[in-house]
């Protein structure tokens, strides 16, 4: 048992570091995010050419046949550079969902074009429903369905008709929706069953409302469908199989997102060390003040702990664990990484002093990413409450480690 990187894994990290240092500088990030739609398509092409879009997909699906650990290592470096590509939404989230569905010709086709980078995907995976959560908490009942099923995301309706399905609905704040070629959207039938649809971005009756970009490097849009006609094959999954895949994808996505947050925290520490070393106040480098040193050391602790949690969670995820075990580790990664990213980005601004408050200096770019990421796929409090259900309400879980 160990969580140190293997030589192959270290190689992946080293090559990603070298590649992104030139291909996704913060200067390029500012160009992509301050002008245009926040996507650096040249970068996406290069990334796709290296096979990153299929890093965790099986080789027969066009992927590299590696695991979530390797995906997390890439996500960490992409987060560190705020790379302006929809890697998280398309590769980490959409591909994880598609892979978790029962196999079909449609999912295989989508995975193939996703792995090659030919198509970008987006998933309308809404926030978990807070009311549901706390109701479970107050009644203190073990709530086996505490993880919101796909249905919680769907305020949308699907009606079967002769040509297939007629879809209408509204999905708020869908990550990278404005970039996606295909949108994965859940919707209900009249009987209340939940179905998942693949909708082409150019479908008639589909409209997007881009949101004001708090983090211009990672945008989202409200999605609205009005009587969109889809073929029967557009329905990818339904029922319990969909629910299970949805829960699993949320956990896998959470671990990948946490990896990105580790990268954000690392970047903030790096920026702060560089700035405080050269900034002189009261006749000495401010890096020599104990208050500054202690804050940087606390950033280091948060960062390294988060990194350990993310690597551990990703390694567990690669062992095909039970849903409850996966949830526990996803929650752990989210908690540690969210804390690290928020702490480090806030301190980076504070320790840059007045400069940290200027548009010109970079810390605020990371603060924005850290705040947005802290809410994606549910806030830490939601994840912790799910863990509390396991810890306090249910019979003791078979221990993750024998």
């Amino acid at each position: 048992m160990d969580l140190a990187l293997s030589d192959e894994q270290q190689l992946i990290v080293d090559s990603a570091v070298a590649f992104l240092a030139s291909s996704s500088t913060l200067a390029k990030v500012r160009v992509a995010s301050e002008t245009g739609d926040g996507c650096d398509r040249a970068l996406w092409q290069e990334v796709a050419a290296m096979g990153w879009c299929g890093v965790h997909l099986p080789e027969d699906a066009g992927g590299l046949g590696l695991g979530l650990v390797e995906l997390a290592l890439l996500q960490e470096q992409l987060g560190r550079h705020l790379a302006c590509i929809p890697f998280f939404d398309s590769v980490a989230l959409a591909a994880s969902l598609l892979r978790s569905l029962p196999g079909s010709a449609q999912t295989a086709a989508l995975l193939g074009s996703l792995a090659s980078g030919e198509q970008m995907l987006a998933v309308a995976m809404a926030q978990p429903d807070a009311d549901l959560q706390w109701a479970a908490c107050a009644s203190a009942n073990a709530n086996a369905n505490a993880i919101p099923s796909a249905s919680a995301s769907a305020s949308a309706r699907a009606i079967a008709n002769g040509a297939g399905w007629l879809l209408s609905g509204y999905w708020p704040a869908v990550g990278s929706a404005h970039l996606a070629d295909v949108l994965l959207l859940p919707a209900h039938t009249a009987l209340g069953e939940c179905l998942l649809f693949a909708m082409p971005a150019d479908a008639q009756g589909l409209s997007l409302q881009p949101l004001q970009a708090v983090d211009a490097t990672r945008r989202s849009a409200n999605v609205r469908a009005t009587d969109v006609q889809l073929p029967a094959t557009a329905c990818l999954a339904r029922g319990p199989a969909l629910d299970q895949a949805w829960q699993r994808a949320r956990c896998l996505g959470a671990i990948a997102l946490a990896a990105e947050q580790v990268g954000v925290a690392q970047a903030c520490l790096d920026l702060t060390l560089a700035y405080t070393a050269q900034r002189v106040q009261f006749g000495k480098s401010i890096a020599g003040f104990q208050a500054v040193k202690h804050r940087c050391a606390q950033m280091l602790v948060a960062l390294e702990q988060a990194r350990s949690a993310v690597y551990g969670a990703a390694a567990v995820a690669d062992t095909e664990p039970a849903a409850a075990v996966l949830l526990l580790h996803a929650a752990q990664a989210r908690m540690e990484a969210t804390q690290a990213a928020l702490y480090c980005s806030r301190e980076a601004i504070q320790l840059h002093g007045g400069m940290g408050f200027t548009w010109e200096f970079d810390p605020h770019l990371f603060l924005r990413r850290a705040q947005l990421a802290s809410q994606r796929l549910g806030p830490v409090s939601w994840w912790c409450e799910q863990v509390a259900v396991q810890l306090l309400d249910e019979k003791p879980l078979a221990e993750a480690h024998p």
Partner: protein
Amino acid sequence: MNVQETAAEQGFRAEVQAWMAEHLCGEFAALRGAAGLGAPGYDAALAKRWEQQLAVGRWTGLGWPQAHGGRDLPLGQQIVFHEEYVRCGGPGRLGHIGETLLAPTLIAHGTPAQQQRFLPGILAGTSYWAQGYSEPGAGSDLAAVRTRARLDPDSGDWVIDGQKVWTSWAHESDWIFVLARCEPDSVRHKGLVLLLVPLRQCGVSLRPIKQITGGSEFNEVFFDGARTEGSLHLGAPGQGWAVAMYLLGCERGASTLGQQAHFRAELDDVLDVARANGAARDPLLRQRLAQAALGLQTLRDHALRVSGAPGDARAASIAKYAWSNWRRNLGELAMDVLGGACEAGPDDAVCESLQQLWLSSRADTIYAGTNEIQLNLMAERALGMPR
């Protein structure tokens, strides 16, 4: 100790309310509730006309001595004005630096000629001031002044060369008070002079600093042979540090209660969103919202406890540290209350204003003495710990 308003205070509050209702309308309705001076689309010309309107109503110089055109009102009534002004939707005060910081310093340290020349314009809302303390490379270290001032023997003028930074509202101001080094070989706190310098001259140029909020409330100010009359030093040349510190000490007392009334309006926005979007049913957010409300009440109590006691060296740093961290927490709470819906669609003004609160609050613990500087000051001055 008295937390209840006197009859005089109650009457005065009614007076403020009535006046505000009568005057914050018409063209000024656009200013209603405009808490942040730096908000996008801010109309500075209108804000100056509003300041002049306030002056006509005799709502400026409330605490100034009558000899200088003020009303010399007791502290309680000043508090009532500042609180009620904000409650009635009164906008952020563009004249703040002149009225609250410079004027008391002019009254204490200025010459009669300076007082007669500058106080009336401040009182009337026709003359606006900026503050020239911080310099690039020396943000928190105010004594590391490199801007130079020398008396030109020919004209008798002061000539100023150097640069200031983080100068709020310089682009809307007429004058700036500048801390400069008038004794070439002096170091740190010695050999400084505080000069009153006109901003609209060819020796002065401005560069706005774009902030993380997207706005540009702050400026860099460049002095390149800028001039001011030889008599326009505030206090004796060489003694500028003491005068500059006196000025900073004016940043407390009754006017902070007005600031708190602004905070209350921001908190109310957050509470409204929480009620509307269901965050008010989240027990963790409920705790934080309650803590924010109680913490604001504490800021007020603290101001009421120490405003009357000018000798308490602890008060200013404690108050600055407490309010800035309170508001920074409120900014974070606002974003968490918005949750996943923290990005606004078009026309979502509330969401936008909470985003601005969040971003702008990151500056609160940095400007006017960072958290770290405040803690140093408290440890050394209030607790007597070693430097």
